[in-house]
């Protein structure tokens, strides 16, 4: 789509109406995963491994089955064999086969007539384990003599002779890195580590599954993507996808963690064995933390060369990440994103995807990018300090612009990095005076954004209102943004458009609400569906007026003659056309399905002021600024909300959050008291600036805003702590203990 096709004058886009689902959500009426129940429903409970790595010698379910009210028990023996690739991984993660691979790995499940009974029955299932040596840390897991998690899990990319838990290897780059380092005035190389964190959505996973002996089923579930649930459950259970109908509930947060399956196939398998009675499974918080999909942890080497005026001459990064006991750590994404803000001639990337005895990682908001940013943006800051350079000017000097080749290969289309950095410079926060023990940090971040399989329908009601059916669950206001775009195009009131998130039976396959795609992809498809309906309305009006279809235009909610030559007719409004549609050819609707092209990448930069208590080492956030290119903010309040929420999660990751394992390989902090996410009293107001460099690939310029915002906080806070204390923490989280010992060491 050419640039001049992006509209810039709007009636509704950029306004802030109340979200259509707001009333349901402030009154407690909105139905989330655990709120759904069915007549005759059973409750399921899952038996989980207490060991990080253990051979399953025997499972005895007889005592559980003997309990009155227990209707079915499943183990791996109830699932089909012969799966391969990711299907096998999903099945193995759903329910352990020969070995339990992490603390919390499901080994059996039971359904009974009450929650308490199901829990009691789960306790009566006896599992005999042979405990095996385990490995948790990524740098330990990559050692040649580490406990082997699974032979044969490596793909063809892994060089011969690699350590046994390395399952994917990647290497790419361009130019002459050594020559680049030789041309630098300063070369620095450091290692950075991040710990695994959890998305921390407040709603635990919940589903009701129902499946008969004919393998036809239904599921009601909280998910970011119900077609993924359908496809994955079908694969794991060996049933046909189309025979499973999946309806999404409202979703209580996901952040990537609800784009895959965990206990959902268990509820279906239990239901089938219980004669088709529906089975509800609701995870506890401990189950969520132990056995869903936290993010990977990383160990990352970065080497940069810089001239004394700040030009980056070469970059070499080598990242090792563990994503649990399966392939899939987002090391590739981390490598692609980590240097994306810099125009580089000489660059080398190396990545290792490593298995460890931890839960199978899932996506977490810009998967991989925050870790990569932590490593690279920390080192850029260290070098700016060494060379006494302004961190924003240095980033501007090296910034990628439209037409530049990205560090990871492709050529950038329209991007807004320079605009973002300029906006940071202009913002009062960047000049605000700092108090004692305070320091300022800045960092940039990047996310590709994503299109994905998208299928959307819309139709006109006989009173001239419109309904839109989308397949992307509304996590943060996408009903509002899509209604705004459709109303804008149709020329009707925002309130006259209803956006429904519909079940799998109602549309073609949709990818989840992930990759910052809902407002971009479902939004674009909704606009294109609307165009189709408009075309049909113009056709009918043309027939009525007896003129050519091309001679009818659509604007302000009505059909108009295209010009003086088209003839003189009063505009025919949507209401009139809709009222008569029964006699002019029947229903008027539009549909669009595609992998919407024209994805627009997004850059952001954050400025954070911290204060570090010199006695305790505790870091507090004093001031926080998010600047990010939205392309276009359809509903600015929800764009700001994404920026603020991403920043808050990043702050938690930087300062508090980590998976803590004991020497026995068990997760030590599977409750919110110990896995401490930021609370209201931890944070200040989070200032935002929405930069709008419209994406030419979207009719209204949308890029997608969900993910970039979690990327800069990790390094920005580490940089600010350095500024405040003179000490550099290269291993997240930046706990008071670490800061205090670093300050003590520096004082010596």
């Amino acid at each position: 789509m050419a640039k001049d096709n992006v509209t810039n004058e709007f009636r509704l886009i950029g306004t802030r109406p109340n979200r259509p689902d707001g009333l349901d959500k402030v009154t407690g009426r909105a139905r989330y995963g655990a709120d759904f129940s069915l007549p005759g429903m059973l409750w399921g409970a899952v038996v989980r491994s207490p060991h990080a790595h253990a051979r399953i010698v025997k499972i005895d379910t007889s005592k559980a089955m003997a309990l009155e009210g227990v209707k079915s028990v499943v183990t791996r023996a109830d699932f089909p064999t012969g799966l391969t690739g990711e299907d096998w991984n999903l099945q193995e993660n759903t329910i352990a086969g020969e070995k339990a691979l992490y603390d919390g790995h499901a080994v059996a499940a039971v359904a009974a007539t009450s929650k308490f009974l199901a829990e009691e029955a789960a306790r009566l299932i006896e599992v005999e384990y042979e405990v095996l040596p385990h490995v948790i840390d990524v740098d330990d897991a990559i050692k040649p003599d580490a406990p082997v998690i699974r032979e044969g899990a490596a793909d063809a990319s892994v060089p011969e002779g690699s350590a046994p838990n390395v399952v994917r290897y990647m290497e790419f780059g361009r130019g002459d890195v050594e020559a680049g380092f030789a041309a630098a005035d300063l070369v620095m190389e450091k290692t950075y580590k991040t710990e695994a964190t959890h998305q921390g959505y407040i709603e635990p996973h919940a589903c009701v599954g129902q499946m008969g002996a004919d393998s036809k089923g239904e599921m009601w579930v909280c998910t970011q993507g119900h077609w993924y649930i359908r496809k994955m459950c079908a694969a794991v259970l060996g049933i046909e996808s189309a025979q499973l109908r999946v309806t999404p509930s409202e979703i209580g947060g996901g952040f990537g963690g609800k784009t895959t399956i965990f206990m959902e196939p268990l509820s279906l398998a239990l239901s089938r064995k219980a004669g088709g009675r529906p089975v509800k499974i609701v995870m506890s918080r401990a189950e969520v933390l132990r056995a869903t999909g936290p993010t990977a942890s990383g160990s990352m080497d970065v080497k940069l060369g810089m001239t004394k005026d700040g030009k980056i001459t070469a970059a070499r990064v080598e990242f090792r990440m563990q994503g649990g006991a399966f392939p899939g750590a987002p090391v590739d994404m981390a490598l692609y994103c980590c240097l994306a803000a810099y125009k580089l001639e000489n660059v080398a990337h190396i990545g290792y995807d490593v298995m460890a005895n931890r839960p199978k990682c899932a996506a977490y908001r810009a998967p991989g990018s925050p870790m990569g940013a932590f490593a690279v943006e920390s080192l850029v800051d260290e070098m700016c300090r060494e060379l006494k350079l302004d961190p924003i000017e240095t980033r501007l000097m090296n910034a990628v612009r439209e037409g530049d080749v990205a560090s990871y290969g492709p050529k950038f289309g329209s991007i807004g990095l320079v605009e973002v950095l300029e906006a940071v410079k202009q913002h009062p926060n960047y000049q605000a005076p700092l108090g004692p023990n305070q320091g300022r940090g800045v960092a940039a971040g990047y996310w590709f954004n994503h299109n994905g399989e998208t299928s959307v329908s819309m139709s006109i009601a006989s009173d001239g209102t419109a309904q839109v059916s989308v397949g992307t669950p509304d996590i943060g206001g996408s009903r509002a943004s899509i209604a705004l775009m459709v109303a804008e195009r149709l020329g009707i009131a925002y309130e006259d458009v209803r956006v429904n998130v519909v079940e799998t039976g109602a549309l073609g396959e949709n990818e989840p609400t992930h990759g910052s795609r809902a407002t971009f992809a479902s939004g674009k498809a909704a606009i294109l569906s609307t165009e189709q309906a408009i075309k049909e309305m113009c056709r009918r009006v043309a027939k009525e007026w007896g003129i050519d279809e091309e001679a009818v235009d659509w604007s302000d909610g009505a059909a108009h003659p295209a010009g003086p030559n088209a003839g003189k007719f009063p505009p025919m409004t949507l209401k009139e056309i809709a009222a008569n549609m029964g006699s002019t050819g029947g229903p008027i609707s539009g549909h669009h399905e595609s992998l919407p092209d024209g994805v627009g990448a997004s850059f952001g930069a954050h400025v954070v002021d911290v204060e570090v208590d010199p006695e305790t080492g505790r870091t507090s956030i004093v001031r926080y600024l998010v600047v990010q290119d939205a392309g276009r903010a359809i509903h600015p309040s929800y764009v700001e909300g994404q920026y603020q929420g991403g920043a808050a999660q990043g702050i938690g990751w930087a300062l508090n959050e980590e998976y803590v394992y004991g020497s026995d390989g068990r997760l030590q902090n599977p409750v919110f008291l110990d896995y401490r996410i930021p609370v209201a009293s931890d944070l200040p107001m989070i200032d935002t600036v929405i930069v709008e460099v419209p994406n030419p690939g979207h009719p209204y310029g949308v890029r997608g805003v969900g993910e970039t915002g979690i990327t800069p906080p990790l390094p920005a806070i580490a940089n600010a702590v350095h500024a405040a204390t003179g000490s550099r923490i290269r291993h997240l989280p930046i706990t008071p203990q670490k800061v205090r010992s670093a300050m003590k060491a520096a004082a010596k």
Binding site: R29, I475, G476
Partner: protein, 159 residues
């Protein structure tokens, strides 16, 4: 296990249910009374999604047994609006876009209402500390705090 007959007043209505002695008030509200607006986020009193008022005191309903509600009154999110008229906090939450996924919203609204009944003019800091027991993972709390302070201001004006 034999059940306990519980008589309570929920959102002003007399309600009876049979509680398993092990059941929390949260489970009873959700599974026996059919009031699913109160949410479970942790079951350990850390997240505040299950906040209700028990005889006027703000509690985590996951830390109270259902049987303890006998003879007491319980106020939940479902009782916050009066018919079609939303409580100012509910209205301000929508206006300020103070919810994204909306899952923590019922608990935060109940907790914020309790704050404003005790302190009609809280500072930002007081609001932040009062709500520190209510986790929100989506918003970074910015718009929530603004909505609470704005609702407080409006309620003071109309009081």
């Amino acid at each position: 296990m034999s059940k306990i007959h519980v008589t309570t007043k929920i959102n002003g209505d007399e309600v009876e249910f049979l509680a398993d002695p092990r059941e929390t008030l949260l489970d009873c509200l959700r599974d026996h009374v059919g009031l699913t607006g109160t949410k479970e986020g942790c079951g350990t009193g850390d997240c505040g999604a299950c906040s209700v008022e028990l005889d006027g005191t703000l509690v985590c309903s996951c830390l109270v047994l259902g049987a303890e509600a006998n003879g007491k009154s319980v106020n939940t999110i479902e009782g916050m609006a009066k018919g079609e008229e939303l409580h100012p906090l509910q209205r301000k939450f929508i206006e300020h876009a103070a919810l994204q996924c909306g899952f923590c919203t019922p608990g935060i609204l109940v907790a914020a209402k309790s704050l404003l009944e005790k302190n009609p003019n809280p500072t930002e800091e007081e609001a932040r500390f009062w709500l520190a027991g209510n986790l929100c993972r989506c918003t970074g709390y910015d718009k929530i705090i603004r909505a609470v302070l704005d609702a407080a201001a409006e309620m003071r004006e109309t009081a």
